[in-house]
């Protein structure tokens, strides 16, 4: 300390030496009580924080010291729910308003002795016992009079006495049937029936259903006596109906079933649990399936966008697309998109379909086009060269395909199917589209699987054939019409000089026949081709039929009948496709 003072002196600092000792003093003062001074001194200045528990009476919280102690006193009370006026005592907080605070202890003693009478007079009369309100009884019907009983309630099964007994029990046990049935013990008065003494009467055992049936009958009758059903309120009427409709037999059957249910064996219980589990599994599976299906459809029905796909045709572009989709999915907190079936449809929403046609003009025609697989499928055959040869069945199952030639980049099968519907001319395209619409086949396929695409391809081919055939038929028809018109003209001219013109006429007719014949045979040749392209087994037969018909038509050489026959011919060829297309042809003809 002195050294410090010297230093201060030397440095001309003010003598501030008091601060340190005072601080030390403070620390010493803070010393907790559970520790000796010597021990505490050993701890040094910066003692670790230690908690020393003192066993001390905690006492009341400080804020409560200001509160005045309120008095409780033993107060007698009566219960209104009782009829005998039993007086019991309980502790009650003394009401501040009723008495002024007692100034001193002796006064208080006097007060407590006086307590006995005073609150009894005031509190019991003024306020009701607060639990008395819970004294409620169940509502039971009014008791019948003798006359009412004799007129309405007589029963072979139930005597008046037993009915009375039942009604008493019901009132006593508040319509708790379990207890009523348990306590029901009706003893017939033997002395009133002397003949019953001779034979010990078999103890009549009433079931709960019998009791209920009787009680409900009585109660419903009493309700009806009080208010005729026409004057009843809605609730009363419902109650009345319910009571009248009580069927003891059904109730007994129900209880038998309940007993059976209760006494099942462990095996039955296990089986039932298993079945329930199975049912739960099935329904949840179905639910899952439906939601997945819905999700898939909603993805398929995304409006066709018309952007450029070229940016997605490189692997880099695809990777980028995948990233953005992943991001989008993450933000949507949906299932991972990485599942194989999720990858294929999701870009479909964004891949443009209409504009890909020029970009892929060089891709081979439909028949020669290599079958594309999904991105996984196209990659799979390359890096794994025949680890295991698959049987054809397995190949179809796993969707393995072999290609003669693979084009670079990614293609969508749906795109290719789409391209088929594009004909060279706009008119033809429209016709194709309308034919498809007639068949209720969407222009954009749902689920363009490989098989679907193949079939679609075939369909489009046959539709094309049909359209061609129709074109030819129309041409022939118009020619016939022209010729007919010419013929009619000539006949009209030749009508006066009919004698020498006959051979000419015949010649012209023959000419016309020949023309019709050749044309018809060409249509007939077309039609079987269309038919055979659909690859239906019955086609050959129908095609033959058609050729026969066509030749018959030609040989018949009756121009007036031709249109009708033509119509029939069209019908036949159309039937190869479907009825729907048949209708469309008829319509288009018209």
């Amino acid at each position: 300390m002195a050294a410090a003072a010297d230093v201060r002196d030397m440095l001309d600092l003010p003598a501030e030496g008091q601060s340190r000792p005072s601080k030390k003093q403070k620390v010493v003062e803070k010393r907790p009580e559970g520790i000796t001074r010597e021990l505490y001194a050993l701890l040094g200045e910066r003692a670790p924080p230690i908690a020393i528990n003192e066993n001390k009476y905690k006492g009341r919280p400080k804020f409560m010291n200001k509160l005045r102690v309120r008095k409780w006193c033993m107060t007698p009370f009566t219960n209104n729910a009782r009829s005998d006026g039993l007086v019991l005592n309980h502790w009650q907080r003394e009401h501040e308003s009723t008495r002024p605070p007692a100034p001193d202890a002796t006064q208080m003693d006097v007060d407590t002795t006086a307590d006995g009478e005073k609150p009894e007079g005031t509190s019991t009369q003024e306020k009701e016992y607060r639990f008395a309100k819970y004294n409620v009884k169940a509502r039971v019907p009014r008791r019948y009079t003798d006359e009412e009983y004799n007129r309405h309630l007589k029963s072979d099964d139930w005597t008046r006495e037993e009915t009375d007994y039942l009604m008493d029990l019901v009132a006593e046990y508040d319509v708790r049937w379990v207890i009523i049935a348990d306590r029901y013990d009706y003893q017939r008065h033997l002395d009133s029936e002397p003949e019953a003494n001779a034979i010990v009467p078999a103890k009549q055992y009433r079931t709960m259903e019998q009791m209920k049936a009787r009680y409900y009958y009585v109660a419903a009758t009493m309700l009806a006596i009080e208010h005729p059903p026409s004057e009843m309120s809605e609730a009363e009427f419902a109650l009345h109906e319910q009571m009248l409709k009580y069927d003891p037999d059904r109730e007994r059957d129900r209880k038998d079933l309940a007993a059976l249910q209760l006494n099942r064996t462990a095996d039955e219980v296990r089986e039932e649990a298993m079945l329930l589990e199975e049912l739960k599994r099935i329904t949840s599976n179905e639910q899952n399936f439906i939601t997945e299906r819905r999700e898939l459809y909603s993805r398929l029905e995304v409006p066709i966008s018309v952007g450029n796909t070229t940016m997605y045709q490189t692997s880099q572009g695809l990777h980028q697309l995948l990233q953005t989709l992943l991001q989008a999915d993450k933000s949507k907190k949906r299932r991972s998109i990485l599942g194989p079936e999720a990858v294929a449809p999701s870009p479909a929403g964004q891949t443009p379909t209409q504009t890909t046609a020029p970009g892929r003009a060089e891709t081979p025609s439909t028949t020669a086009a290599p079958k594309e697989t999904t991105k996984k499928g196209s990659a799979a055959p390359q890096p794994q060269p025949s680890l295991r040869t698959l049987t054809p069945a397995e190949e179809t199952r796993y969707g393995v395909q072999h290609h003669e030639r693979l084009t670079g980049g990614v293609q969508f099968r749906s795109d290719r199917a789409q391209k088929l519907t594009q004909a060279k001319s706009n008119v033809q395209t429209q016709k194709l589209a309308s034919a498809l619409a007639e068949l209720e086949i969407p222009v954009r396929l749902f689920m363009p699987t490989e098989r679907v695409c193949k079939d679609f391809e075939k369909l489009i081919q046959s539709v094309n054939l049909l359209l061609d055939a129709r074109k030819v038929a129309e041409k022939v028809e118009s020619e016939i019409r022209v010729l007919e018109a010419a013929k009619a003209e000539r006949e009209r001219k030749e009508a006066p000089e009919s004698t020498d013109k006959d051979p000419e006429h015949r010649e012209v007719k023959k000419e016309a026949d020949e023309a019709g014949n050749s044309m018809l045979s060409s249509t007939a040749a077309d039609a079987p081709a269309a038919a055979s392209s659909t690859a239906l087994p019955t086609d050959g037969e129908s095609a033959q039929e058609k050729t026969r018909e066509a030749s018959a038509d030609a040989s018949a050489a009756v121009p007036e009948e031709q249109p009708a026959k033509e119509d029939g011919n069209h019908k036949r060829s159309a039937s190869v496709l479907s009825n729907a297309s048949d209708k469309s042809f008829k319509r288009q003809r018209r």
Binding site: L67, R82, L86, W91, F131, A132, A181, D182, A258, V269
Partner: protein, 471 residues
């Protein structure tokens, strides 16, 4: 919460009127103030009798265990079926249980209260109740009874309470109902495993269903008799139970070795009665029950095979035994035998035969599963699943290790369909004093106070009123 505020009536429907709850059992009598969580006064129902100076003396409570007076005999006023047999003594024992701890003697005239007398002779240990002072003059009394208590016994009970004890209000409640209340249920199937009886009581809406009541004598005392039978047949040597008071000193011995102890002997004229020895042996046996005896927890009977195929006995044998040292120093490890002594509560065939036992061999109908089956058969089918869902286990003997597990398994085997749920308080006191606690709850409810039979009503209608009011 500020403790100085009274609880709201909505949250707690209590209104205490300083009622006394008395729950007399065969082994112990419980008494205490309503609203408390355990009985203040717990005494043995046995009372001791001896003759000193040509005068018959009676001892109650804990005093009966202490001094081996010459010819000291113990008796029980209750019958084995839980119905009072000796009404005079039952009244005295019950009164002792109330007056010894709960009601203090009113300060009398100091000239006469005995404190200022010169003690000419030793004052009798028992509490002398002044005849003019009724012990219960200002406390309503709630008593419990067994579900099969006959009407005569009930009338006698209210007579004692009203006329001898002068209680202002009285109620007689069924112990089964109260045990259900103690576990917070108004309906349930109460399985009470007492000292002299086991009983099954179906309770619906706070009322017993009389047709479903079942009881059988396979209680704690029966288990004691089974233990004695086991000791007789013990393999190295039969075990004799020597109570503590007969052992002066002992030295430790190896397990299974004969005891080395110095015994206290009484001359024939000074020896206490055999019943007293039996009582003290019973204390050792209850210690044995607490420490060693175990109920085979199931799933099947001890004699049957477990679900895995191995016989249960083998499984039980492979579990480590439990050692027990008797008062004379003899000690032994009890293996599978500790399961056998209680097995007959569930499987009558497993009973250890003992011709000297006061208990006849149990029938299958007396076992707990059969009792429960019979009990449920007596109630309406609609409430059976509900009862099975609310099985309340109470009674001191139900504290045997593994009892509730076994009961659960047995019930699930009997009724695989409905859900079986057993509610057994883990707290020992709550299990032992289940019906007392229920009574304590009931008697402190504000809504209950309209149910009391008041003195006035008793005087008007006579003792028969108990039949009408306490249903």
């Amino acid at each position: 919460m500020n403790p100085s505020n009274p609880p709201q009536t909505a949250e707690y429907g209590g209104d205490e009127v300083s009622a006394i709850v008395l729950d007399p059992g065969y082994s112990t009598t419980r008494a205490g103030f309503a609203g408390e969580d355990a009985p203040k006064s717990l005494i043995s129902t046995y009372y001791g009798k001896y003759t000193a100076d040509g005068q018959e003396r009676l001892l109650y409570g804990d005093d009966i265990y202490v001094n081996p007076h010459p010819g000291f005999s113990v008796h029980n006023p209750m019958g084995r079926d839980g119905i009072v047999e000796d009404w005079d003594m039952a009244e005295k024992v019950w009164e002792y249980s109330i007056t010894s701890r709960l009601t203090t003697a009113k300060p009398g005239n100091p000239f006469q209260n005995g404190l200022n007398d010169i003690p000419a002779e030793e004052l009798p240990t028992e509490m002398e109740v002044e005849t003019d002072e009724k012990p219960l003059a200002d406390s309503p009394l709630l008593m419990t009874e067994s579900a099969w208590n006959p009407a005569k016994a009930r009338e006698k009970t209210i007579e004692i309470a009203m006329e001898k004890w002068g209680t202002p209000a009285f109620y007689l409640a069924r112990s089964g109902v109260l045990a259900a209340f103690a576990s917070g249920k108004a309906s349930g199937l109460v399985v009470d495993i007492g000292a002299s009886n086991i009983s099954i009581t179906p309770v619906h809406d706070g009322m017993i269903l009389k047709r479903g009541i079942q009881h059988s004598p396979l209680g704690g005392d029966y288990v004691s008799s089974q233990i004695r039978a086991l000791f007789k047949k013990n393999s190295p040597q039969p075990i004799t139970v020597t109570p503590h008071y007969l052992v002066n000193s002992k030295s430790p011995v190896e397990a299974g070795q004969p005891p080395q102890a110095k015994y206290r002997t009484f001359p024939a004229d000074k020896a206490p009665d055999a019943s007293w020895r039996a009582l003290l042996e019973e204390r050792t046996l209850s210690e044995f029950k607490e420490c060693v005896v175990q109920v085979w927890p199931g799933p099947n009977k001890l004699s049957a095979a477990s679900p895995t195929g191995a016989p249960n006995e083998e499984v039980a044998r492979s579990s480590p035994g439990r050692p027990f040292e008797f008062p004379d120093g003899y000690n032994q490890v009890f293996g599978v035998d500790r399961f056998r002594v209680v097995e007959s509560l569930f499987d009558a065939k497993a009973a250890i035969a003992d011709p000297d036992s006061p208990f006849p061999a149990p029938t299958q109908a007396q076992t707990i599963p059969e009792l429960i089956k019979a009990s449920l058969g007596g109630v309406d089918v609609d409430i059976r699943p509900h009862l099975l869902n609310n099985v309340v286990v109470t009674g001191g003997s139900s504290l045997m290790y593994g009892f509730t597990d076994r009961l659960n398994h047995e019930l699930q085997q009997l009724y695989p369909g409905p859900r079986v749920r057993i509610s057994a308080p883990g707290n020992t006191a709550e299990r032992r004093f289940g019906s007392w606690i229920g009574g304590s709850i009931l008697a402190s409810l504000g809504t209950f106070h309209q149910m009391w039979i008041s003195k006035k009503e008793y005087e008007e209608h006579g003792a028969n009123i108990v039949e009408k009011r306490c249903k």
